[in-house]
C-alpha cells in the first residue's frame, strides 16, 4: 500500500473495518447453515433435541478449528502464489 496519504490511509482503514464486520457476518452465516444442515433433522418437536444440541456444539468447535487451520494454510499458499506471480 505505497503512495497513500494519511487521509487516504484512514479512509482505507475505515472501509476495511466495515468489510471485516461484513466478513464476520458471512462466516457466522455459513457456520449456522452448515451446522444446521448437518445436525438438525428431527422435526417432531419445535425444540432442539439433546442430540441436536450436542451435535451443534461439536460442529461449532470443529468449524472454528477448521477455520484456524485453513486460515494458516491459506496465508502460506496465498503468499507463495503472490510471490510466484511477481516473479513472472
Amino acid at each position: 500500500m505505497e503512495g497513500l496519504t494519511a487521509a487516504e490511509s484512514r479512509e482505507l482503514e475505515q472501509r476495511l473495518q466495515k468489510r471485516q464486520v461484513k466478513e464476520f457476518m458471512t462466516v457466522f452465516g455459513n457456520l449456522v447453515d452448515n451446522c444446521f444442515a448437518a445436525c438438525v433433522d428431527d422435526f417432531t418437536s419445535r425444540a432442539l433435541s439433546g442430540r441436536e444440541t450436542g451435535c451443534l456444539s461439536r460442529c461449532v468447535t470443529k468449524s472454528m478449528a477448521t477455520q484456524t487451520r485453513l486460515g494458516e494454510r491459506f496465508a502460506e499458499l496465498n503468499a507463495a502464489m503472490t510471490a510466484e506471480m511477481q516473479k513472472r
Binding site: 466478513e23 462466516v27 455459513n30 448437518a38
Partner: protein
C-alpha cells in the same frame, strides 16, 4: 501523452482505495470458498467429535494446497483458451 515521463496520469485517491479494497475482497472470497469446499470434502458431517481428527487435519492441508493449484491451473487454461477464442486483450 508524456514528455520525459511528466504528465502521466496518477490514479485518483478513490481509485487507489478501490483497488486495494477490491483485491482484498477477491482474496477474502477465495478464502471463504476454500473453507466451504474443504469442509465439505474433508470433515465428517456427523460431528460425532468436537475435534478434528488427524486424518481430517491432513485432508484439510492437502485440500487447501490443491485448491490453490486448481485455481492457478484453471486460470492459466482460461487465459490460453480465452485468448485463442479472442476474448480479452
Amino acid at each position: 501523452m508524456s514528455l520525459f515521463g511528466f504528465g502521466r496520469p496518477q490514479p485518483t485517491s478513490a481509485e487507489k482505495i478501490a483497488a486495494v479494497e477490491n483485491e482484498l475482497r477477491v482474496v477474502a472470497e477465495m478464502h471463504s470458498r476454500m473453507i466451504k469446499l474443504c469442509t465439505l470434502k474433508c470433515v465428517d458431517k456427523t460431528y460425532r467429535e468436537g475435534e478434528l481428527s488427524k486424518g481430517e487435519s491432513v485432508c484439510l492441508d492437502r485440500c487447501a494446497a490443491k485448491f490453490f493449484e486448481a485455481h492457478q491451473t484453471i486460470s492459466e487454461q482460461l487465459q490460453r483458451e480465452g485468448a485463442a477464442r479472442g476474448f480479452g486483450a
